[in-house]
């Protein structure tokens, strides 16, 4: 009797699978990362996101993503566990930024409907469309992150419409929550747009804007962002990110630019540099302060595994980053070495 029931359930399952003709298989992907970092002043000086623990073999995160497409509809659900994807990301599962509350972090949770090949709409919680770098170490060439990334949005919840005019031009516009918030407590308060242009083969540029009044903010914040990458030859790629963020009524913000030249010696071995200038805008009469940073990283790939050896030098002429020497005396500069292993599946 039990076998009969089992066979019936199996037959029903197979029938359902056969009926769902337009469905693609469930995609499961993700990554795992771990790193060792050593700051030459023996103190964890550089405070950009992630890779922050000094002289320790430390954890990044395990990231698990599911994607399914059925006909014109699809969803993506992506969760991460571990310091990079929990307390170091914002917000955590409780919807708050709390270093002591380790739960999990939602990277993506959205539903997309493609009305046609050209027009689609997406609603949910998505990786931000602003900037060059992302939370997932698989999406970045350098393991440590830039000041532009750390100070910009990580994710945006909202609803957006995308129209693809051609392979070379597309436009996205949408309504969004406050930055990095599952729920917007002052209503859906931001508008954003992205114009994608691909002038020549291998060159893609994104012009982004996001503006709105966040709950409890001093003014309306507007970020303008250019993110572009050009694969100039089969070995050489050049990326650029430039952004300006201003909060109305002289309530601060930032401006900065980062250049990303990368050279692939072989498909498995490449070297990349990140040179960044970043300026904090002073609130009211407070002066501006700037930081410069140079990061040299290697990418050595073997199947899904990537080793990222990296050296980084930061200069903080205005002493805003609280860099210290090994004697704990204030310092203008900081330097570190790190070695990360990232496995993507």
């Amino acid at each position: 009797m039990k076998i009969k029931s089992l066979l019936s359930v199996l037959a029903l399952g197979l029938g359902t699978t056969a009926y769902a003709q337009d469905a693609t298989p469930l995609q499961i992907s993700g990554s795992v990362d771990t790193y060792y970092k050593y700051d030459f002043s023996k103190v964890g000086n550089i405070k950009t996101s992630f890779a922050s623990e000094q002289n320790s073999v430390s954890l990044g995160m395990i990231d698990l993503a599911l994607k399914k497409t059925t006909g014109k509809a699809s969803f993506v659900g992506e969760l991460s566990f571990g310091p990079r994807g929990q307390a170091q990301s914002i917000p955590n599962a409780a919807g708050a930024y709390d270093e002591t509350d380790n739960s999990f972090h939602i990277q993506n949770l959205y539903i997309n409907y493609a009305f046609s090949d050209k027009f689609s709409m997406t609603a949910g919680y998505m990786g931000t469309f602003i900037g060059y770098e992302v939370i997932s170490p698989v999406g970045n060439f350098n393991y440590s992150t830039s000041y532009l990334f750390t100070n910009g949005p990580f994710q945006n919840a909202g609803i957006k419409a995308t129209y693809v005019f051609s392979d070379k031009v597309s436009l996205m516009a949408g309504l969004f929550n406050d930055w990095n918030a599952y729920q917007d407590f002052n209503g859906v308060s931001h508008i954003g747009a992205q114009l994608m242009i691909a002038p020549v083969k291998g060159w893609t540029a994104y012009l982004n804007v996001l503006s709105g009044y966040a709950a409890g903010a001093a003014g309306t914040g507007t970020i303008l962002d250019l993110t572009t990458a050009y694969q100039i030859t089969d070995k050489f790629k050049l990326g650029l990110n430039a952004a300006d963020y201003s909060v109305s009524d002289d309530n601060g913000g930032y401006t900065g630019a980062a250049l990303y030249p990368q050279y692939a010696f072989t498909p498995a071995v490449s070297l990349g540099l990140r040179g960044e200038y970043f300026k904090y805008k002073g609130v009211a009469a407070a002066p501006d302060a700037s930081v410069t940073s140079i990061t040299l990283s290697g990418n050595i790939k073997a199947g899904g595994l990537t080793f990222i050896p990296e050296v980084r030098f930061d200069n903080d002429k205005d002493f805003t980053q609280s860099f210290v020497k090994s004697s704990l005396a204030p310092a203008k500069s900081a330097s570190q070495f790190s070695l990360a292993a990232v496995y993507a599946f």
């Binding site: 469930l26 995609q27 499961i28 469309f129 698989v138 694969q231 030859t233 498995a268 790939k301 199947g303």
Partner: protein, 195 residues
Amino acid sequence: MKFISSFFLLITVAALAKAQKTAENILPVDERGKLIYYEVVDVKIPKDSLKIRAINYLKKQNKELKYKSTQGDTAFVATGKLVINKTLLVMSHPSGEVLYDFQVEVKDGKYRFWLTDFNFIPYQRDRYGNFVASTSVGIPLEKDPGKLNASQWKEYQVQTTKYAKELATKFKVYMANKTPIVAPPKEKTVVKKEW
């Protein structure tokens, strides 16, 4: 002793059979050193019908093939894309795509076609969790990937070979179709000066 000899013989035969099977599973190379699937097919069909069938086929494969041009009166060129999937038991996701050229030439009673210039473009998961091309410049599939990625590269070559064979089969079935081919009617022109 006999048992041990038989055991080693069996292992050797199995290894040889596996090596031969792998070699069969990868496309041969042409005089330029490029991987190629090449076939000449004899059919009792006139050139004009073959021509219409070839163009129809290339134009109908919206997602798989993109019709590019006609060279002379009897040669047709298209470009194609094959998505390589990484499949491990229950999980699967695209790990890259192979771009290729597809060419057909027809004559009375026969035609030939070939797939070549295979270039692999690796995919990378983007910020929204979708797999997208990480570069616009492909790596020739016959290129030696080095020791680090040898097994993965072999898998791309095997999947491409399997795909090329399946595409060839579908194409030959279409070209051999017995239903009569009707040339598309010429567009009617509106006569304005004479009435």
